[in-house]
């Protein structure tokens, strides 16, 4: 392979190379430093005058004397069944002292789009044991449902609790976890790894670790390696794969850094104009395919800068993912775990996974009613602060109390408390029963008579 020594400019993570033979767009590049270290990069722009290479590691040590080798192929990931149980770096190299991965296949990490015609609609209810997910924002197999959180909030605990407890009732199929960390701290890493080891989850997991002190640009490929592995496990080996990507905010920062180095016209708040498309190329790599056994379910975590859900990172994510679980600082301050605020949370695929034969016939309507009651009760809190409780009508006082019950009994649960969906729905009815029956306008009479505690007792 020809080695060029024609680097003429280095700017941030970008290296400009001149006088090359024709080089392919997005081709993998190896840069050889004078000390022999080899760094990897990818072609971002290619012409007969110059080639722009984005380096995935620190450019420290790269100079005009470094050699550049164009490999003639796009970045491939060696994959194999033996990856289960392994810990790899954010660039896919073994980090656990184990041997190199002996590839069964080498796959393009870019990942082609699943043909919408080949997709199968996700519809299998996953029970996570958490009421605010199972009852009110149901997760289904093959869904991409991120956790929108804020710094210092217990999103990792929630993700781990989900990873521990998630199961499809009645199913015994092979499952695997693919965990990709992007820019998380050593402490967070320990938290995840200790939990994986304690529960034996590591055996079924492939872990990719890019930590806070690892190169930021490496974060561009880490999730792609993880998703390529997940797709292989799911669509070629038939596993049901849960992918946890954390923290997507760090991924987006890396994207912004590259955009700035390329002197692109920035979009909102300095993030690249193509961030939506770029994020879609990750998030859309989830789902089911007709006729194939496995599935890829995505649970990404992102921290909202300034707890602002309209910030471009959560905003663009929310426009692509199939809902979001929003972790809230006020609930956290009140000491409620998991501090999930159901109001801005949403599971878009919920309707496919619930109801008769899946969870329970009353599920949808009960949820709607809980939302309506909690939203109204929550609004009244502001009013009470001004006019006092006595100025409220009887109806409003009940709603106000309902909002408290909702947070303290329905939202709040233990770190290891694994509620069945029946538990969660029955609990919902118990709370709804504290409201006057004529307020339950979202639920058909038939269901009320079947499930309302008042009638259940009579029966």
């Amino acid at each position: 392979m020809k080695e060029y020594r024609t680097i003429n400019k280095i700017a941030g993570p970008l290296v400009f190379v001149e006088k090359t033979e024709p080089v392919g767009y997005e081709e993998l590049v190896n840069i050889v430093q004078s000390d022999g270290t080899v760094k990897r990069g990818q072609v971002l722009d290619t012409s007969d005058d110059f080639v722009v290479v984005q380096v995935f590691e620190s450019t420290a040590g790269i100079g005009r004397d470094s050699g550049v080798r164009f490999t003639g192929e796009t970045i491939k990931m060696p994959v194999s069944r033996d990856m289960l149980g392994r810990i790899l770096s954010g660039a896919g190299k073994p980090k656990d002292g184990g041997p190199d991965i002996v590839p069964e296949k080498r796959l393009d990490i870019g990942g082609a789009a699943i043909n919408p015609y080949a997709r199968q609609s996700p519809a299998d209810f996953i029970q996570t044991g958490i009421s605010t997910i199972d009852a009110t924002n149901t997760l289904v197999r093959g869904q991409k449902l991120p956790i929108f959180s804020g710094s210092g909030l217990p999103h990792n605990e929630i993700a781990l609790q989900i990873a521990r407890q998630a199961r499809v009732p009645g199913s015994t199929e092979d499952f695997a976890v693919v965990f990709a960390a992007m820019g998380i701290t050593k402490e967070e890493e320990n938290q995840f790894m200790a939990d994986f080891e304690r529960t034996g989850a590591l055996e079924h997991a492939v872990v990719f670790l890019n930590l806070a002190d690892d190169p930021a640009v490496e974060r561009i490929i880490t999730p792609r390696l993880a998703l390529t592995t997940a797709e292989y496990l799911a669509f070629e080996l038939g596993y049901h794969v849960l992918v946890i990507l954390t923290d997507m905010t760090n991924y987006c920062e890396a994207l912004r850094q590259i955009g700035a180095a390329r002197e692109e016209v920035p979009g909102r708040r300095g993030y690249p104009g193509y961030m939506y498309t770029d994020l879609a190329s990750l998030y859309e790599r989830a789902g089911l395919i007709k006729g194939l056994k496995g599935s890829v379910t995505q649970l990404s975590i992102l921290t909202m800068p300034g707890d602002d859900i309209t910030h471009p990172i959560p905003d663009l994510s929310g426009y692509i993912t199939e809902g979001q679980i929003v972790v809230n600082r006020d609930l956290h301050r009140k000491g409620i775990y998991p501090p999930i605020n159901v109001l801005p949370s949403l599971s878009r695929l919920m309707n496919n996974g619930i109801g008769e034969g899946k969870t329970r016939e009353d599920h949808k309507k009960v949820t709607d009613q809980m939302y309506a009651g909690y939203a109204e009760g929550n609004d009244l809190r502001g009013l009470v602060a001004i006019v006092g409780k006595d100025a409220l009508s009887e109806r409003d006082q009940r709603l106000l109390e309902f909002a408290d019950h909702f947070e303290n009994r329905f939202v709040r649960q233990g770190h290891d408390e694994n509620r069945t969906i029946e538990d969660s729905l029955d609990l919902a009815w118990e709370l709804l029963a504290t409201l006057p029956e004529e307020l339950l306008v979202r639920i058909d009479r038939g269901l009320i008579q079947k499930y309302h505690p008042k009638y259940r007792k009579e029966a």
Binding site: G24, E26, A113, Y117, T277, A280, K290
Partner: protein
């Protein structure tokens, strides 16, 4: 595709979906074949010897020096029997065929025609030898699905006298009719997507598109041939609303464009529509539907093309005399595709990085909607309903603002409403329809002479509630005068019973005009009774808590609801009557 002489060039630069070629003799918007794999692209700029091309497929691995060939053709779609029930990508490649050619993932370099060129269709002529025809004349019919589609003379034909016309089974490439000019007419037409198909005349849209959605038909109706925008933050209900319209609106043909959105949403349409019945014809909804799916992770250049592909197909059915409705979800993703391409071209950016021609492109697109007299002198229409996805839900951004200047219906989705699961989360205070006046006659004649009055009354109550809510925020609801406490209750009924409509309830997902009227009328009946009683001194807490009205919300979920509404109306009268008696004494 035939390659003309001197129209070969070589690639000079590749940067994402935009590539530069030199030595190519090309015109703007010519379709070219890029690289050894002959990827499809379109010329979007010419600068001296350089031709800039947007490529509809992924360009990884393509190198400078590879060939580029000009086809000399514009980006066009195939129009003819076989469109209905199809699902295409942004450049009309049938996704079903792509699965059979390259498996579950979309690889590149595979072409597939939009229509089957092998399939035989039964062509039934409706004109005969010796008849003269002009551009747009319907010459025959094909039973494509349960829908009888028309075969027309091309809009570009000069017309003539028929010297031969066939009857029987043919492919879309067979000649079914010959004119004395020598022109041979086939069942397929090819039309460039960026050029609107001609019509005789645009007409005033004065018939509503009935959607079965109470807040739309009731408060903010759209006309057949009209335009509407649905802006809203993520999760507020753009897609669900668009899908409800695709399912239940009384259009004869539906074109649904998934432009840069989720793969699973298209799959859902594909699985659901064949199972659902058109409330009018009783036939599977899929049979009247054409889907375009260029999801967020499919190439952006093809996303840019997808709305043109969709609207051209819609116009083609309009030309047959059909009422077509087109949903584009989301026009913001289309605008972003323009922005992405524009920034690769290093064009001078306008507002928020969008190209300066954003407003022009949006208005050209919506301008292709309309109720028209076709070339064949029939009436047809294309209704365009575009979702808008403003960043951060902020409507002051360029795509929303430029869209607002063009469309006549504005259905503003509101995160506050969706968060409390008030669906459809269309804000009744911000939304509007500019068709109210032109449509009121239709409602008078076809629903009830009372209808327009009821609508105005309902809007007034809701407006009044918003004002009262401000006072309530300061002093609490108990401090309101008696009359206004009743207004608050009536407004609540309007919101919870009339406006809220669950798209996932098998009954409530569609509500006929008659049922809309009955529900609205029952709420009005209550209001009249309530104010009457209050004037006689009955305390509002008594009036607003009568048991009889508690059953009204349930009516939404009932198919046979008529008797129940009558019973409720009566019971309300009785119960309020008793209250009045008690307090008169």
């Amino acid at each position: 595709m035939e390659v003309k002489g001197n129209s070969k060039g070589i690639l000079k630069r590749i940067s994402g979906p935009v590539v530069t070629a030199v030595g190519l003799n090309a015109h703007m918007y010519d379709v070219v074949q890029v690289g050894d794999e002959e990827l499809m692209g379109e010329v979007i700029r010419i600068e001296g010897d350089k031709t800039i091309i947007q490529v509809y497929e992924n360009t990884s691995g393509i190198r400078p020096g590879e060939p580029v060939a000009n086809t000399g053709l514009s980006l066009a779609v195939e129009l003819g029997p076989g469109l209905l029930t199809s699902i295409y990508d942004g450049i009309q490649r049938p996704l079903e065929v792509l699965v059979s050619k390259m498996g579950n993932f979309i690889e590149r370099g595979v072409t597939a025609p939009g229509l089957s060129h092998e399939k035989l269709w039964e062509f039934v002529p409706v004109v005969k030898k010796g008849d003269s025809v002009v551009a747009g004349t319907v010459i025959g019919e094909v039973q494509e699905t349960n829908i009888l589609t028309k075969i027309m003379v091309s809009p570009r034909s000069k017309g003539g006298v028929i010297t031969d016309i066939k009857s029987g089974e043919f492919t879309i490439d067979d000649v079914v009719c010959t004119l004395d000019t020598g022109e041979e007419i086939k069942m397929m037409q090819v039309w460039p997507v960026r050029v609107p198909r001609p019509v005789t005349e645009k007409m005033n849209p004065d018939i509503p598109l009935i959607t079965g959605q109470r807040i739309l038909d009731g408060l903010f109706p759209i006309a057949k041939g009209g335009t509407a925008a649905i802006p809203g933050p993520f999760g507020s209900g753009k897609t669900v609303t668009q899908q409800a319209l695709a399912k239940w609106s009384d259009a004869q043909i539906v074109v649904y464009i998934g432009c840069g959105e989720r793969g699973n949403e298209m799959t859902e349409v594909l699985t659901e529509f064949p199972e659902l019945e058109d409330p009018k014809s009783g036939k599977p909804l899929m049979e009247r539907t054409v889907l375009i799916a260029n999801t967020s992770n499919m190439p952006v250049a093809a996303r840019e093309a997808s709305v043109y592909t969709g609207i051209t197909i819609a116009e083609y059915f309009r030309d047959m005399g059909f009422d077509v409705s087109l949903m584009a979800d989301s026009t913001s993703r289309w605008a972003e595709a323009m922005r992405e391409i524009s920034s690769r071209l290093e064009e001078m950016p306008g507002e928020e990085g969008y190209p300066a021609y954003l407003a022009a492109r949006l208005s050209e697109f919506y301008e292709r909607a309309g109720r028209v007299e076709t070339l064949n002198h029939e009436s047809g229409s294309v209704t365009v309903i575009g979702a808008v996805s403003p960043p951060g839900g902020d409507f002051s951004e360029p795509v929303t603002q430029n869209t607002l200047r063009i469309v006549k219906c504005f259905w503003a989705l509101d995160a506050k409403l969706s968060q409390r699961r008030h669906f459809p989360a269309i804000n009744w205070l911000n939304s509007y329809s500019l068709y109210l006046d032109t449509l009121s006659k239709w409602y008078d004649e076809n629903v009830s002479p009372e209808w327009n009055g009821l609508r105005i009354w309902a809007m007034e109550v809701l407006q009044k509630e918003a004002e009262l809510q401000e006072i309530v925020q300061l002093v609490g609801s108990d401090a309101l005068p008696d009359e206004e406490q009743i207004t608050i209750e009536v407004a609540r009924m309007l919101r919870e019973i009339f406006l809220q409509q669950n798209a996932f309830d098998p009954v409530d997902t569609y509500c006929s005009m008659e049922k809309q009227y009955d529900i609205m009328k029952a709420i009005k009946n209550y209001a009249v009774l309530a104010y009457g009683a209050q004037k006689l001194g009955v305390p509002p807490t008594k009036i607003t808590t009568i048991a009889a009205k508690n059953d009204l919300p349930q009516v939404k979920f009932m198919t046979e609801y008529k008797e129940e509404v009558a019973r409720i109306n009566k019971a309300m009268e009785t119960e309020v009557g008793k209250l009045k008696e008690a307090y008169q004494k």
